[in-house]
């Protein structure tokens, strides 16, 4: 299975029925395709709506109905629209139960960096507010970069989006819970050994007594 699909499928399992959820830009958006059928979540789009649905078919789009990437979306029955100040009041004010954010780096203190690389600063957008306000933060990323370098670090090297804010880290190789004492490995991908994982993880971590196989359903 494609590593990104693995991560999206696993991240979707974190969402509980009835939760208010914000999916950050990039890989998190794919999570919407894998939300278990028995769980109804209220998806927020940060540019100002709740209960958006799938991409409309040609001829059914609306020039005033788009997501934060300015791509067309549909609105489901019961949807609401509101302005940006209200939207960020929802985000910053603790009304979002769970935010799933793509990460460039995460570290063993639960810090996340996802908005700036040397020579290229696109801007933080809504990510920092999500980190400040959402009740639970799930960080998702490929375990290593294109050259095989670890991205789960002792300390983030890139400009931080949030310090110590992440609750769960999901990669294509492992799932870590972020506890006060540090990272705890709770799931390990099939075919991965503990030694193999340590070799590609810079962060220190302990292993949960109830360590299990990486769940996809």
């Amino acid at each position: 299975m494609d590593p990104r699909e693995m991560i999206s499928r696993r991240a979707a399992l974190e969402l509980q029925d009835g939760e208010v959820v914000n999916l950050g830009f990039g890989m998190p958006l794919a999570v919407v395709n894998f939300i278990p059928k028995d769980r109804d979540v209220l998806l927020q789009s940060e540019n100002g709506c709740f209960l958006f649905g799938p991409t409309p078919r040609l001829g059914h789009q609306d020039s005033d109905t788009a997501n934060a990437g300015s791509m067309p979306i549909t609105l489901r029955p019961g949807a609401s629209v509101f302005d940006l100040a209200t939207s960020f009041g929802i985000i910053r004010g603790g009304h979002v139960d769970c935010a799933i954010l793509g990460a460039l780096e995460v570290d063993q203190e639960g810090s996340i960096a996802n908005w700036s690389v040397p020579g290229r600063a696109p801007g933080m957008g809504g990510a920092m507010d999500l980190v400040a306000g959402a009740r639970r933060i799930i960080a998702i990323l490929l375990h290593t970069d294109k050259t095989g370098e670890a991205k789960v670090l002792k300390r983030c090297t890139l400009p931080l989006t949030g310090k110590g804010a992440v609750d769960v880290i999901i990669t294509d190789k492992a799932v870590f819970q972020v506890a006060p004492e540090g990272l705890v490995l709770t799931e390990l991908a099939e075919g991965m050994t503990l030694e193999g994982l340590k070799a590609i993880t810079q962060a220190e971590f302990s292993v949960a007594p109830e360590l299990r196989a990486y769940r996809l359903a």
Partner: protein, 239 residues
């Protein structure tokens, strides 16, 4: 009272060195006709305040302003959709002042609402803290962010009347209601100009007191076609 105005009169408002706040979110709910006017006006050294840069498929809404090097400073939450602006920033030709999106909108809301600024926890522990006052209230740290205002605001609505009342539609409201309040002079571009009384009171998103001029933009039909073409060309919409 008749605030209905023309693009020529809007053009006369543009000055070199102005601070202009633009409503909309990367093209959606953006005042496209006024932006075209600004891009062909020749005014320069602008400080532009907008939540994000142009639509990711480029070349309309804010993109021409950067392509023409009309912008000296950009106050925003996100610049990444515009490669030209990113390059100007990298080379030091463009000054970009970044704020987290929630801070950006609240600075403007404070600016329009007579507040000196706001206290926000967003950015604590990051480089956003640099150069800012920090207060601890009931054990939680907050950054002091000052109010932000513009000389001119250009917003986009669905319908507008001669009193300046503006009705918004769907997710195109986004930044427009707040941006409308935070300038010395606000122009509202609309899809349709309607008579006084046509907009139900509870449907007014921006009361006319905030608006100095209402100008006809693309009709709703023209706007629908523009976005259908854009999204189809981009491979987003399929039959």
């Amino acid at each position: 009272m008749d605030k209905i105005t023309t693009l020529d009169q809007v053009l006369a408002r543009f000055q070199d060195g102005m601070t202009i706040a633009i409503g909309g979110f990367a093209g959606v709910g953006s005042p496209l006709r006024c932006l075209e006017l600004l891009a062909t006006s020749g005014v320069k050294d602008l400080t532009l305040i907008c939540v994000a840069n142009c639509h990711p498929f480029g070349s309309f809404d804010l993109a021409p302003l950067f392509a023409n090097h009309q912008v000296r400073r950009f106050i925003t939450a996100h610049n990444g959709t515009n490669p030209e602006a990113m390059e100007q920033f990298r080379k030091g030709e463009l000054d970009v002042e970044f704020y987290p999106m929630g801070t950006w909108i609240e600075k403007l809301r404070a600016g329009g609402a007579g507040l000196g600024g706001i206290l926000t926890p967003t950015g604590i522990g990051t480089i956003v803290e640099q150069g800012k006052q920090k207060l601890t209230i009931r054990g939680r740290d907050y950054l002091v962010e000052e109010a932000l205002r513009a000389d001119l605001a250009i917003i986009k609505g669905f319908r507008g009347d001669p009193l300046g009342n503006i009705q918004y539609r769907r997710v195109a409201a986004n930044t427009n209601p707040v941006v409308a309040t935070a300038a010395d002079w606000t122009i509202a571009e609309v899809n349709e100009i309607v008579p006084v009384g046509a907009i139900e009171p509870e449907a007014v998103g921006t009361p006319g007191v905030f608006v100095k001029g209402v100008v006809q933009g693309h009709t709703f039909e023209e706007q629908e076609k523009l976005f259908q073409d854009l999204w189809t060309r981009g491979g987003i919409l399929k039959a």
